[in-house]
Symmetry: C2
Subunit: 336 residues, 2 copies
């Protein structure tokens, strides 16, 4: 159940995002603007709530700001920035992965070609940077510089994770430690940045903002491991994507890595590599028999505990605080 | 003849660039780091001065800072930023144009694939943003925010120009006004940003920094028109690229657009579109007979005059001032 407070925030985020992207809404760059509004889920076939995603990162940023005692409205340009960065990375990721659809719609590169799609992704990134300049006047310049640096450092981490993800595709196997490093950068970095930036804009001191950062970090790790679990054993009707796809795409998710380490029947089938779609349910079962599902679920639970512990330590205030616990529990207990 | 002063600046730029890119110099991201150092011309086959380009933008920024009465050393992080942005755009441009070589070496995407190359370009952009944070401590936070905004606005312009460039490739013809809009964004934006940012970091007031911006803007326009002229009538031995390539690639350069407007023999051949490499010298001559070469040279001269007028108005100080005039005259009077 979403509260009126949460709805107000999400609606404000959407308006701010549109305002930021509207910089390109001019006759000469009308097509360019359309690529961005299409990708953001506002225009074109299939536009709407489902095409937009959950706006988790900007929501997390605003809640962290409010729960640290600040005014969430003043933090809106930073919230828009993290969401624009997230969407820049999705847009480039779709080209890199050759993904033809995202959230049930053709990706930007399949509609407008690779050249324009690379440029559209660049445009989203720059819009994020310009959005950050909108903090001016609401905060001391030193604070703006500090949160801007945190954002950029985590953007670099995002590309570090992306680099490893692409590189790992070509390796037959990777170590479990490599997996954690990759998801810390690729998935957790931006969530961690959102929580830390929000808390700083809310007036948190060094120590408190560090706790928010930890919260975002473990939230990201738990979220990714949970996602890996759903990618193999999830309910297709709820997740909206085939549970077969992660194994079929030979994604080196955590269950696969643990399964390989077991050196059992699953590892044998995986290394042979000749399995087909009809073999996937059996492979999922083999992983369960191995005990892999339990081990991975334990990891997810461990990260969830660390995230919730950090959040409790942060002691977030008011209805924003309640919403943060709800967000974390919703993300981590999710079945979809 | 390069003065000791200019050499000192260029050497400091190179060190600062290396320092910025070294963020990725860690075991997990060694390959990622190598892509950037290769692209920057420091490592790999063919590394060296020729592979690095002229570093015009950071040089312009530092000279503008010194010529406005400031300390150029303090401005180094901003200088590195504009060069990293330039290189980010080249790296993505090579993918977008499917260019297999740049400065005689294989491009990043031909060596490491499109997926990693997109990511490497993103990494250069983020390195530029992080470089900007290095201004902290040397300038008041308000000044840093101001120059950062100017940089990002011109980055967005860069992608506006890139968008048009890609879009125009598919159009049979474009208007001369569209050409000017495109090069203002694609070529002049970053030079204009470099000059404006430099002057502000040097202590220039609103009015003086505007004059520096104008200087960079017209310098960029003049440079691009000059480049178009060399692309058709240049001395191959001096430019290092085939003078046939611009016409063969059907690049909609300014001479071509004027030639098409003339509706003469050149326009006829162009629109037929069946010309081959052996026809190129004739087409260049047809354009000359049309009077197109003269008209385009007049445009280049007009932009050069506007650039030099702006520079004279700025009244740049000391040896940095002399070097700015030399840079402008070198770029615009160049035969290569």
């Amino acid at each position: 159940m979403m509260t009126i407070f949460s709805k107000t925030l999400l609606s404000a985020i959407e308006s701010e995002l549109k305002r930021q992207v509207a910089r390109l809404d001019e006759p000469h760059t009308a097509d360019y603007h359309e690529m961005l509004t299409y990708h953001m889920g506002w225009t074109g076939e299939g536009a709407g709530r489902k095409a937009r995603g959950k706006r988790i990162r900007p929501f997390l940023l605003l809640l962290s700001a409010a729960a640290s005692g600040g005014d969430w409205e003043k933090a809106l340009p930073a919230a828009a920035a993290v969401e624009l960065i997230h969407n820049f990375s999705l847009l480039h990721d779709d080209i890199q992965d050759k993904s033809e659809t995202r959230r049930g719609r053709p990706t930007v590169w399949t509609r407008w070609g690779i050249a324009q799609a690379i440029n559209a992704g660049d445009g989203l990134f720059i819009s994020a940077n310009l959005s950050m300049t909108g903090l001016k006047g609401s905060y001391p310049a030193e604070v703006i510089l500090k949160v801007a640096r945190i954002l950029q450092e985590n953007c670099l981490n995002l590309t570090r994770g992306q680099h490893l993800d692409i590189a790992y595709e070509k390796r037959p196997e990777i170590a479990i430690g490599d997996y954690w490093q990759m998801i810390a950068w690729k998935t957790a970095a931006l969530l961690s940045a959102a929580a830390e930036m929000g808390s700083l804009l809310g007036g948190a001191d060094e120590k408190l903002s560090f706790t928010y950062r930890e919260f975002g970090h473990y939230l990201g790790l738990a979220f990714q491991v949970q996602d890996d679990i759903l990618g193999i054993w999830g309910d297709e009707a709820q997740t909206g994507k085939s549970t077969a796809s992660d194994l079929l795409e030979k994604k080196k998710s955590l269950p696969v890595l643990y399964g390989l380490a077991k050196n059992g029947k699953f590892a044998e089938m995986w290394r042979e590599g000749t399995f087909k779609e009809e073999d996937i349910p059996e492979m999922g079962k083999l992983l369960e028999i191995d005990g892999t599902r339990l081990v991975v679920q334990e990891q997810a639970d461990r990260m969830t505990d660390l995230a919730l512990n950090a959040l409790r330590t942060a002691n977030p205030l008011g209805e924003a605080g309640d919403a943060l616990f709800e967000l974390a529990e919703g993300l981590l207990g999710r079945e979809a």
